[in-house]
Assembly symmetry: C2
Homo-oligomer: 208 residues x 2
């Protein structure tokens, strides 16, 4: 059985869940509370010296980094284009996600919604993150003006990856209103087969 | 003829040059002076709305993001492992590079060496970047304790990608002394076939 070490409200962990569920691959999700340092203790660092989730355990071996995990499991499925150019464009958007979406939307959301910090206490950093997030959202919205998905005419890893943080942008204090192409694309993704919603922090708190 | 739009001292642009030279693929390098905003003007934004280099032009089409470009050209060569697990580990280290090496070493170096800012003027940001860079260097050095290259027993895209910013770490004000495994690995890479050094900013200034 594949083990996924993750943090439920983490977009990067959610990507792995979205994919494995879509592919009907059975897995056990091991929730680590990042806010309590559970990804920085000795046991976890022995599995992933980089101390980050998600991490996948498979036959006693460990694989880190959400996009490395996605491509490992999705290779050979219709979520990865066969065409070399389309495949390259898929990676282009996944790199864009890790460089311009996650560090801005994800980090702003982490401070505001997960750590419950006041926007004032992280002032300048937050302003910069929001500015960069807005640019990234505009780039995605413009790109979707004349196509249903980011790369080909169907859902690929590029869409799955971008969805994870983009759909929770309001939790970073950034409204999505006005990005109509992007909003329609989020809906298309929610209608994909075996789509599952992200497990929220609120939900977890009701379980405690 | 392939066109590479880049900035000579950029590690991300250098990755593309290292690869194309290694693969003996002919290309024209078009140097844009990022410090003069040459990647943010209308002409460039029409080619890459994201306004970043490197960008590759191929048969009138454009591909951005260094790692998407690397994998497009290297697919099917000995720089990308055939084994699915090794391929996934290659991507793991490339994702690590884009998330923890480039934003820390690359950004610190950009401010200090390329923009010639005083370390004092960027105080706290720089401290944070240096701390994260040190962690990343330690992770790489530890990983290389019992292997010659990052993934398999030979040079792959993971090594090429990491080399680009790691070898100029001293330009970010961070010495590499003490990281002996890492230093030996840098030398092994310099001895790879058709290796080319990075074109430095100093060299460009002597040409003006």
């Amino acid at each position: 059985m594949i083990k996924v070490y993750g943090y439920y409200p983490s977009g990067n962990s959610y990507k792995v869940e979205l994919l494995l569920t879509r592919l009907e691959v059975a897995y056990e999700f091991i929730h680590l509370d990042l806010l309590k340092g559970e990804s920085r203790n000795e046991d976890f660092l022995a599995m992933n010296p980089n101390g980050r989730v998600p991490l996948v355990e498979l036959d006693g071996r460990y694989l880190a980094e959400s996009h490395a995990i996605l491509s490992y499991f999705a290779e050979g499925t219709d979520l990865v284009p066969d065409d070399p150019w389309e495949r390259a464009k898929m990676w282009q958007w996944m790199c864009f996600e890790q460089y311009q979406v996650e560090p801005n939307i994800g980090t702003a959301r982490y401070h505001i919604t997960l750590c419950k910090r006041s926007p004032e206490s992280i002032g300048l950093l937050l302003q910069e993150k929001k500015k960069e997030a807005q640019k990234a959202l505009r780039t995605i919205d413009d790109h979707l003006a004349d196509r249903p998905f980011m790369v080909s005419n169907r859902f690929t890893l590029a869409d799955l990856s971008l969805f994870a943080y983009v759909h929770v942008t309001p939790e970073a204090g950034i409204p999505l209103t006005g990005h109509d192409n992007l909003l329609a694309w989020l809906e298309r993704i929610r209608n994909e087969p075996r789509f599952i919603p992200m497990t929220t922090l609120d939900y977890l708190e009701t379980q405690e």
